[in-house]
């Protein structure tokens, strides 16, 4: 199953929830914001979303900026 994460095309071996995917990638869900197929997805829904073939994810967080 192919997904696009932050502009990169990746192969996922098994379907997971969004929340599990983030945790598996060593990301701290508390400080992230996720756009799922072009829509902002509130963090409450992350455990219910099952990542599927062709999905696009933008995972963002805050960095220093002026």
């Amino acid at each position: 199953m192919r997904v696009t994460v932050n502009g990169e095309s990746l192969e996922l071996s098994e379907s997971t929830t969004l929340l599990d995917y983030l945790i598996r990638r060593n990301l701290n869900p508390a400080v992230l914001v996720v756009e799922y197929n072009g829509k902002i997805l509130h963090r409450d829904h992350w455990s219910q979303i099952q990542i599927g073939d062709g999905d696009t994810l933008e995972i963002l967080s805050f960095v220093g900026g002026g």
Binding site: N26, E35, L60, F62, V63, G65
Partner: protein, 255 residues
């Protein structure tokens, strides 16, 4: 007490700082503790999937107002998108609109900024647009629902000081909104100068973050901002603007 109110929030400290370009972001906590800075800008970026970097929010004390910028936006649409993402991240509803499509001088695009401001203000954001100082644009931003205007003192990151002084002075005189001088302020004396003119606050990033001793420099800026503010409140005598009559001095001759 002399307080600045933006978006319903009472601010005691008129120095806003940016969190970019710090060699060591762990300095931000001590700086906030020492200066009492209340507003800090942050930027939103794609996470580095290879992991490693600590999140900037871990370094910013929880009681600060986060002011996410829309850096990277090249038009109103992108700015709006970034603002919404930032809001979804759960860090409040303040946003600094920054629309830049010029990669050489990084000058803001006032037209796109006005458009983005209109949309986001309507959605309930506290919008602080970074702008090129221009009276008409400032008035338009006012009408678009901005909570303040943030004219640049000089191009971003140049530390060149208050090059736009004469125009910023006009904005201060003519705008109802707080005028926050953003970008270009390189030295505490320049921050004081802006405050003396009546700026509501100044936003400083590069000059603090890239100083030899950022903590000490932040302290210096904080004091300069306070001094400048007090000087403004104390109403210094005008120097050369003879033509600017506050009240007529010879009116009695006609009576």
């Amino acid at each position: 007490m002399d307080k600045l109110i933006i978006g319903g929030r009472e601010l005691k400290n008129r120095l806003f700082i940016g969190s970019g370009k710090f060699a060591d972001e762990s300095l931000i906590g001590p700086i906030v503790a020492q200066t009492g800075v209340e507003v800090i800008t942050v930027a939103l970026r794609r996470v580095d999937l290879s992991g490693g970097k600590e999140n900037i929010l871990n370094y910013i004390p929880k009681d600060c107002v986060l002011l996410p910028n829309t850096s990277g936006a090249r038009n109103a649409e992108e700015a709006v998108r970034i603002a919404r993402l930032a809001q979804a991240a759960g860090c409040g509803n303040w946003v600094k609109i920054e629309v830049i499509s010029d990669n050489k001088y990084l000058l803001p695009d006032n037209n796109e900024t006005i458009k983005a401001t209109r949309i986001l203000a309507e959605e309930g954001f506290v919008v602080l647009p970074y702008m090129h100082p221009d009276l008409y644009a400032a008035k338009e931003l006012e009408r678009a629902g901005a909570a303040a205007v943030m004219p640049l003192g000089a191009p971003i990151g140049t530390n060149r000081g208050l090059k736009t002084k004469e125009i910023v002075r006009i904005l201060i005189e003519e705008c109802e909104l707080p005028v926050i001088v953003d970008a270009g302020i390189g030295k505490p004396s320049e921050a004081a100068e802006a405050m003396e003119m009546g700026a509501a606050a100044v936003l400083v990033n590069t000059a603090i973050a890239t100083a030899g001793n950022p903590t000490m420099m932040a302290n210096a800026f904080s004091q300069a901002v306070q001094a400048g503010r007090q000087a403004f409140l104390a109403q210094p005598g005008e120097t050369t603007e003879y033509a600017r009559a506050s009240s007529p001095l010879t009116g009695f001759l006609r009576s």
